[in-house]
């Protein structure tokens, strides 16, 4: 991002590391200090420092502190902030609710990510197929839920899940079919995944579809001349070529999964099955805003951020060699 800033070719000190102790460039630098690269860097650097680095450092500091109370804790001056070491982290790791929420999100990811990618890929391939009619219309319809904010879609689905206001239950009753309680303990995770799936498939499909459109058509012609069927073309040509897009959507889905918050939070008041620590981010919210304990919320945030980073990194490491062979060679 920064290395492409091309300034005066003759400007000294473009590569200070190359000759760190050479006296000549140093003299030159003193004569003509060039502000231009720094000026051009400044907006990005300042924004990064103020809105990225500073909050992260501040969160780290908060996570190492705790509030202590004197006496009954009433009135001003009854509270003070003290250094807490790693006790907030220790508390988070030994909190059964947090561990349970992490496990729940793991299961949620196992349900959601594969379902999301498979559906998105199938839709993208269908839309890309020459024989599909109404492709433009279908594309818009599949994409549309992505434009609905998660809170709104959760409310919509919440109404559809509640037995006495749900048209599905009415329909099931009319047909004498059993109507399962989707918000019960065992099934609520699918109910939440369904909302995320409904909202997310369209976006991932468009990413994959765009990648499919970029494939040169002569590849298909060649395949057809060799007698390959549509399915064979999809499996042997299309999917391998759009693999980088698949990996990218997988990582985005993975991150979105670990950050799941809006859907369960919106559904929570409608059911007994969703606790205030149902997902890790909900625990962060509860600690910060219901328990007024920013310190433990900060520690949990850091744990979540590091976990997401680590998982994404490991995932990339595992798949990158295969996926990006062509580009890297």
């Amino acid at each position: 991002m920064t290395t492409t800033v091309d300034v005066d070719q003759t400007a000294p000190g473009r590569d200070p590391a190359a000759k760190p102790s050479a006296p000549a460039p140093r003299a030159a630098r003193r004569r003509r200090f060039n502000f231009t690269p720094y000026a051009m860097l400044a907006p990005a650097a300042i924004l990064f420092l103020v809105f990225m680095a500073a909050p992260i450092v501040y969160t780290l500091i908060l996570s190492l502190q705790k509030t202590e109370v004197q006496g009954l804790g009433l009135g001003s001056g009854a509270r003070k902030t003290v250094f807490a070491g790693l006790s907030n982290y220790a508390a988070a790791f030994s909190d059964p609710d947090f561990l349970a929420s992490a496990g729940r999100v793991g299961l949620y990811g196992l349900i959601l990510v594969p379902a999301m990618l498979v559906l998105a890929l199938v839709f993208a391939l269908l839309l890309d197929s020459k024989r599909t009619r109404l492709a433009g219309f279908s594309r818009v319809v599949i994409f549309l839920p992505y434009a609905v904010p998660a809170v709104i879609s959760s409310l919509l689905w919440g109404f559809l899940y509640l037995p006495s206001v749900s048209p599905f239950v009415d329909l099931a009753n009319a047909l004498n079919l059993p109507s399962p309680d989707v918000l019960s303990q065992g099934t609520v995770i699918f109910a939440i995944a369904n909302i995320a799936l409904w909202g997310g498939v369209g976006f991932n499909m468009v990413v994959m579809y765009t990648a499919l459109k970029a494939i040169p058509t002569d590849l298909y012609e060649a395949a057809r001349l060799d007698g390959a069927s549509e399915i064979r073309v999809a499996l042997a040509i299309k999917i391998p070529i759009i693999l980088p897009s698949l990996i990218m959507t997988a990582i985005f889905s993975l991150i979105a999964t670990l950050q799941v918050f809006a859907e369960p939070t919106t559904l929570k008041p409608l059911t007994n099955s969703i606790s205030s620590t149902y997902t890790p981010l909900m625990k962060v919210y509860r600690d910060a805003f219901i328990r007024n304990d920013v310190n433990s919320a900060s520690a949990t945030s850091i744990i979540i951020a590091v976990t997401i980073f680590a998982l994404s990194f490991v995932f990339l490491r595992v798949v990158q060699r295969r996926a990006f062979q062509e580009e890297n060679s």
Binding site: S164, N272, S275, N292, V294, S301, A305
Partner: protein, 441 residues
């Protein structure tokens, strides 16, 4: 491509961290009493609240008090409002001068140094208008005064008189009779319930245990005690747990589209609620007007007269107010003047804590309960039977533990799970106090 992905991941991770980073800095501004303003140069106050039609009451003040002009900001009710205030307090600016605060939140707000003691600016005539029970919620048993009471929520029992008549049921006066009636209602039509145990409403459960004689917190000179898992709470928990286990009352939370529909459709035949229930019923089930009736809460022992409190608020002055004197003057008018209190009854449907100045307005009864013209006369009698109850500095923690633990128990539909939930609540609440450094006995 590869770099893009890396950058995107980096951005994602950082964004995640960012989202969770609340800004906070401590230190409240030194409050300045300030003048009372003049018509040319009025003092400007901000007031956060959510009571229905409060803006109209504020308009009345503004048109008659040119020297103090109040801007009313309608916030979300309850927890979100407290969160918003505490965030503003931590940020060092952005808090209003006055804030509507539910009684159970006052210890939390005092403890966070968000609201101040206004005792020296409030006369004894003002405080004498409130019952001792209500006043104790704003003094916290000390010499201080952390707010002026606005409304109260003595608990009562509401039932569909028409359905009771059809089934030949009499109004339950004891909880044993309530259980009996619940069974009959559900047997007559399996879709119907006399009520539901709502894991979303900790305040309701707290009020029910209050009736049974519980007081979840207590304090002496410098230590708190927690008595959530007391005999009284166990009695209430096991009663409702038993009803849920037998399936004679519903186990789904209140205030959901499902529950609203139940009220309107007549599948929720009764509601253990408080004096403000008519507003909720009128909003959710307007067509059932005239079909409901109110009675005192069923009792644990026949002939007893006791109830608890669910809801009700005071108005407090925040620690960021620069015009404390003006704020207190408005606050006093708002909650203890005949004009304001009457308007709160007629426009807002509130049941004012100041029962002296509201008598006249309350005498006309409640529009939704035309079939019960003495609604407020009865309510006033019930309000006198509210048992004492002390809230502690971590009500938020206890209530959120209630939501989680009793949510699980309601889902499990087992009486034992209800008792376990009460024990868990006690454990979580004590652990939180100790963790914050409070001395707990």
């Amino acid at each position: 491509m590869r770099r893009t992905i890396r950058a995107a991941i980096g951005a994602g991770v950082l964004a995640a961290a960012l989202v969770m980073t609340g800004c906070s800095s401590s230190g409240s501004s030194s409050s300045n009493d300030g003048s009372l303003g003049t018509a040319d140069k009025p003092v400007k106050l901000t007031f956060w609240g959510w009571a229905p039609n409060m803006d109209k009451v504020v308009d009345t003040w503004n048109s008659t008090h040119k020297n103090i002009q109040v801007t009313y900001v309608k916030t979300d009710a309850g927890d979100p409002a407290v969160t918003k205030l505490l965030t503003a307090i931590k940020a060092g600016s952005g808090a209003p001068d006055l804030m509507q605060a539910e009684y159970q939140k006052i210890p939390t707000l005092v403890s966070a140094d968000a609201i101040i003691d206004i005792k020296k600016d409030v006369s004894d005539t003002t405080t004498s208008k409130f019952s001792d029970g209500v006043l104790s919620s704003v003094t916290l048993g000390s010499d201080a005064l952390y707010g002026i009471p606005q409304d109260s929520g003595p608990m009562m029992f509401y039932y569909r008189a028409d359905i009771f008549k059809k089934l030949g049921l009499s109004v339950p006066t004891t909880w044993a009779e309530y259980a009996d009636a619940a069974k009959k209602v559900h047997e007559a039509d399996p879709k119907n319930y006399l009520g539901t145990f709502s894991s979303a409403d900790a305040g309701e459960f707290a009020g029910l245990t209050q009736q049974a004689g519980a007081s979840w917190w207590g304090s002496d000179k410098d230590s708190w005690s927690v008595d959530i898992d007391s005999a009284a709470t166990k009695k209430v928990a096991s009663f409702w747990g038993g009803l849920v286990e037998d399936g004679v009352i519903d186990n789904q939370p209140q205030y959901t589209p499902e529950w609203n529909k139940g009220l309107a459709a007549g599948t929720q035949v009764g509601w253990v609620s408080a004096v403000w229930a008519p507003g909720v019923l009128a909003g959710n089930a307007p067509k059932t007007a005239g079909k409901w009736k109110m009675a005192p809460l069923p009792q644990w022992t026949a002939g007893e007269q006791a109830t608890g409190n669910w809801g009700g608020s005071a108005v407090a002055v925040t620690s960021q107010s620069k015009n404390v004197k003006a704020a207190v003057q408005f606050n006093t008018w708002l909650n203890t003047s005949k004009t304001a209190v009457s308007q709160m009854v007629t426009d807002g449907g509130l049941y004012p804590a100041d029962t002296v100045d509201s008598k006249e307005a309350l005498a006309t009864g409640n529009g939704f309960f035309k079939n019960q013209p003495d609604f407020y006369t009865q309510a006033a009698k019930i309000a006198e039977t509210v048992k004492p109850f002390t809230y502690g500095p971590n009500v938020n923690v206890a209530y959120s533990a209630f939501n989680d633990q009793f949510g699980k128990a309601a889902q499990a539909k087992s009486q034992q799970a209800f008792l376990d939930a009460a024990a868990q609540m006690q454990k979580i609440t004590v652990a939180d106090l100790k963790n914050s450094g409070f001395t707990v006995k």
